[in-house]
């Protein structure tokens, strides 16, 4: 009996140590992000101190204020608008396009359907960066260099959404659609009125992945724009820090502006995201 108790106590201690270790690891992993926000909120004289000062005191918004007021060389507000506009449009259109395709691949019967689907899925294995050169030339030939079309349309081509939604649609009981069919509904009505409402969880997960991915995209906006007013935030803040490399308060403020929207989106939808990843094995 005594032995059992000691063993219990031993296991207890082990659990406490493990939990402390987890907490320490979590704090270390969070530290860079906290440091970014902390620095962005500090007045300049508190940034380069002998010992790191984690809590800004007083909190100062001067760097953010400056970012949005001296707009000539670095139109941060414009970049913010570009990023928001592009990511939102990509998300909405990608959801519409991929859900339509996924509906055809899961519910309509036509010759060559499965071969076509396999061909689409196979392209998911193609590393995206290797086709940068041809994609760039195609966009240039279309006259889309430095344009919103050039920034948006290629982002709608990913096969992942088709794959995810088709899997989800296949799990929806066919009887529901058959009932609607009996009532005289055509495929368009069934897609819009029956399938899409039932697929809300999958659509939400896909929407949030697409949004974060489009917001954070760096390479494509980098090569497809060169006009300062057509840049997106990730590219813009890189240019900004190239000029103000040692102004840590200002560069951290740009980094904060660029990451707050995705962080908030993640915090709101974290359950959807983590479950979506578990469901499909894809990262944001």
């Amino acid at each position: 009996m005594k032995k059992g108790k000691r063993r219990q106590a031993h296991i207890q201690t082990k659990h406490v140590i493990a939990q402390i270790a987890m907490l320490v690891v979590a704090l270390i992993l969070l530290a860079p992000i906290l440091w970014m926000f902390s620095t962005s909120l500090k007045p300049n004289d508190q940034i380069l101190t002998a010992a790191p000062n984690w809590m800004p005191h007083p909190i100062s918004f001067e760097h953010f204020h400056k970012l949005f007021t001296q707009a000539e060389d670095f139109p941060v507000a414009r970049w913010l608008f570009n990023s928001a506009f592009i990511s939102t449009t990509v998300t909405l259109l990608a959801l519409a396009f991929t859900s339509m395709a996924a509906y055809a691949f899961s519910r309509l019967h036509f010759k060559g359907r499965d071969v076509l689907f396999m061909a689409v899925i196979a392209t998911m294995m193609i590393p995206s960066q290797i086709t940068l050169i041809p994609s760039f030339l195609i966009v240039q030939k279309l006259g889309w260099f430095n344009s919103y079309q050039g920034l948006i349309v290629p982002g709608l081509a990913g096969a992942f959404g088709v794959f995810l939604l088709r899997q989800f649609f296949l799990g929806i009981p066919v009887e529901l659609e058959e009932a609607a069919f009996m009532d005289g509904a055509g495929p368009a009505v069934i897609y819009w009125r029956v399938v899409l409402p039932l697929a809300k969880p999958a659509l939400a997960a896909l929407a949030i992945f697409t949004f974060i991915g489009a917001w954070n995209d760096f390479v494509w906006p980098l090569i497809i724009t060169n006009d300062i007013s057509m840049r997106t935030l990730p590219v813009g803040i890189m240019i900004f820090q190239g000029r103000y490399v040692t102004e840590y308060g200002a560069t951290m403020a740009t980094a904060a502006v660029c990451s707050v929207p995705t962080i908030i989106a993640f915090l709101i939808f974290q359950k959807r995201i983590t479950e979506g990843i578990a469901m499909t094995g894809i990262k944001g």
Partner: protein, 300 residues
Amino acid sequence: MNKSQWRTAAMFLMPYGVVFGIFVLLPVLYGFYISLHKWHILAPKPEFIGLRNYKLVLSDDLFRIAFARTAFYVAMVVPLGNALSLLLAVGLNQNYRGTTFYKVAFYLPVVMSVSVIAILWRWLYSAEFGIINHYLSQIASLGHQIAPAISPAALKPQWLNSPATAMPAIALMSIWWGAGGNMLIYFAGLKNVPRELLEAAEIDGAGPWRRFWTVSWPLLRPTTLFCLVMSVIASFQVFGQTYILTGGGPYYSTLTIILYMYQQGFGLYQLGYAAAVGYLLFGTLLICTLIQFKLLAVKQ
């Protein structure tokens, strides 16, 4: 099968199909076509030169350096990154209090853009003012107090400024950035390990360590294969980190393949040559993936 069904299907497939055709299928074929040409962006007409670009790339010293440095990066990021992801997943799987907090904390870096993390880590890595060297110097002076032989200035790496440490620094940053993604996949894998098997092993007297290696780890094999394949493919394409932080320097120590492709294509406008670099990387990744499948695939 009738005409109207075809028409309906075509209607549903059209919007995605057009975009897919122009921006996925076409680039793959067109890229190969470009790689067979001497294709300068300003030249009036590309000149067909067969496989000469590929020969030139393969005998190019800078490409070899880029390939070796990228392989070095992959060799750090893939094993260490996956080990960290698995470790974090095992931690999450203990169901301690605050699991949601941990999940969020571990995953948070993943939702940030490469340019944000690069700008942030440039500062963390600053040799003079960065907090990493600040805490390292505290450790060093603590060591000095214990063993005076240790110089208090012993731990002051130059990080991004030294050819020896620049690539490891970028690898460390990338591991931090990406660990949360694979963590969630490993976590899902661990959740699928049947409880009864773990309980049976426990009754047989297996401790947690033994239970993990004899029960969970073999069952995680498909998950591990998936994560490894995906991280190899992603790591070989490393670009933003080296482009923003070092531009490939110092002394080409962080020149990576896609960065080299970018420099050739958009810096020197040698589009044919750059396309060939991309296709050689594609071939490398195909071979890597096949090898991993051979080594790790679940034997039936």
